[in-house]
């Protein structure tokens, strides 16, 4: 690399990591300030562990992300297998367009449109408030599905098509051939898709904001509430923990990819 290139990348990465460094450092601040560091302390982490509402929000976030991941991974895998076998041009075009919509639409539009439907349907049934865990789960599954599908489709296309046929000729049922031959081939795509769905769901704020009801608060929504008031380093402590958890997940998904490539 040329020196100028090194200097330029150095500057860019310094800017990219500046806020993260600030977060990490100030989560250990002794005082309440977010801009003057007065001494090292773990007190905000301790306080975080005693904050019932935040822990509840962590639990909610994990339950929601896990449920959304399981549902979107299973439905998405089945959908990818089906889409891959579509024969007519228009059916392919329709499925591709529909799958693209949640990815290309701004989050605010996905969130608002789902919210409007939930409110309308809720009113039909006479419910005062229709937004709850279930509406959030539907929203999360909806925006995770395209990412899962798009991780699996390329793996299906790369796969040797004669493999499942061979299995069937040798007496496997179509379902058996899928589980014994196709599934192991596309498994890395399924795992990456599931990890993506999980992290997207963990991190989502905008769509959750519009589809969440009273009583079910996820972490990003709680953080939004917290940043409306004065923020203490406690929130940074929380961010630091989330950061390392997501980083860990990212590394696992990289390892899966590398293993797959090594094959």
């Amino acid at each position: 690399m040329k020196t100028s290139a090194k200097i330029y990348s150095g500057i860019v990465f310094a800017i990219l990591f500046a806020p993260i460094l600030v977060l990490l450092v100030f989560s250990f601040n002794d005082a309440k300030s977010l801009s003057v560091f007065s001494g090292f302390s773990l007190k905000w982490y301790r306080e975080l562990l005693n904050d019932r509402n935040t822990l509840e929000a962590v639990r909610n976030t994990l339950v929601l992300a896990a449920s959304a991941t399981v549902i979107s991974t299973i439905m998405g895998t089945a959908a990818a297998v089906g889409i891959n076998k579509l024969r007519t041009k228009w059916s392919k075009a329709v499925m591709n367009t529909v799958t693209d919509i949640p990815m290309t639409n701004p989050d605010i539009i996905t969130g608002i449109s789902l919210m409007l439907m939930f409110v309308f349907v809720g009113r039909l049934f006479g419910a005062a408030t229709s937004l709850s865990f279930w509406t959030m789960l539907i929203a999360h599954v909806t925006f995770c599905l395209p990412y899962v599908i798009l991780q699996i489709l390329p793996k299906l296309r790369q796969m040797d098509k004669s493999l499942p046929e061979a299995a069937m000729d040798l007496g496997c049922t179509p379902v058996g051939a899928f589980f014994k031959v196709e599934l192991p081939e596309i498994l890395p795509g399924i795992i990456t898709g599931a990890i993506m769905a999980f992290t997207l769901s963990l991190d989502d704020f905008v769509i959750s904001y519009f589809t969440s009801g009273n009583g079910f608060e996820t972490l990003p929504i709680r953080i939004y509430g917290m940043t409306k008031k004065t923020v203490t380093p406690k929130m940074y402590a929380l961010a630091t923990i989330i950061f390392f958890v997501t980083l860990g997940l990212l590394m696992i998904s990289n390892l899966v990819d590398e293993k797959d490539e090594a094959k």
Partner: protein, 296 residues
Amino acid sequence: MRTANRKHPQNGYRMALAPYSVWAALFVVVPLAFFAYYAFTDNQFAFTTENITRFFTATSNIVQDDGTSVEVRTYLLIFMRSVKLAVISTVICLLMGYPIAYIMAQAKERTQKTMVTLIMIPMWMNFLIRTYAWMTILQDTGILNGFLSTLGIGTVHIIGTEAAVIIGMVYDYFPYMVLPIYSILAKLDNRLLEAARDLGCGSLSVLRRVIIPLSMPGVISGITMVLIPSISTFYISQKLGNGKFFLIGDAIEGQYVANNLHFAAAIAFILMLILLVCMAVVKYVTARYVYGGDEE
């Protein structure tokens, strides 16, 4: 036997696709219809174009710096501001991101992987907290000014200006610009560059006539991926602009909080239409000038 097998899987594949088809119809297509329905109805669900006209005609008074007050079209002003800030942020992302993507693509394979991970890491920090951290950096008594005054340079006032909002947008969406450009540049056939050099191209002209045109698909998807979220964002401007620079996303959120669902739907509907037009233009331009011919 074979024909039976061939027929059965096809049914099986249809069955596999069925749950997703139903799901996508119910939760992707139908909500968009509701969206249009709300935009064109009033609180009693009677047809009206009131919400749309209100977007174009609503006025309010703003006090200028010199104390005089002017009447402006509220939502048109907000809309133009959103477009302006989003376009500026996208251009900055492109100008800063293209060289990084190029440097990454030229690096050794091991370095490339590390750099991709480094670019992605900030994306895994919650977006609200990232933005909040920028607020503490840019504040008048914040970290940046503390640093500058220690160096004896004096202080700068950034928070609450349009510049702060742009910094927030560029920071938050930078990876979305770099990664698609990088993925195209990394696959570029080096023999093409050698051929251009052999045929007498200087480095600048290799860049202008070979590398940049070939990387256009990445540039286009980068532009799309930065422009769309930055035009519709609603948190960055509240925090970094001190609430002075309302953007279209803030307007939608404000109407949602005030429970004016029909008007919120109308603003979002107009936003979506304009984005669709923008994307169509981008697609047309790419098809015409990038894949079309080689005339300059």
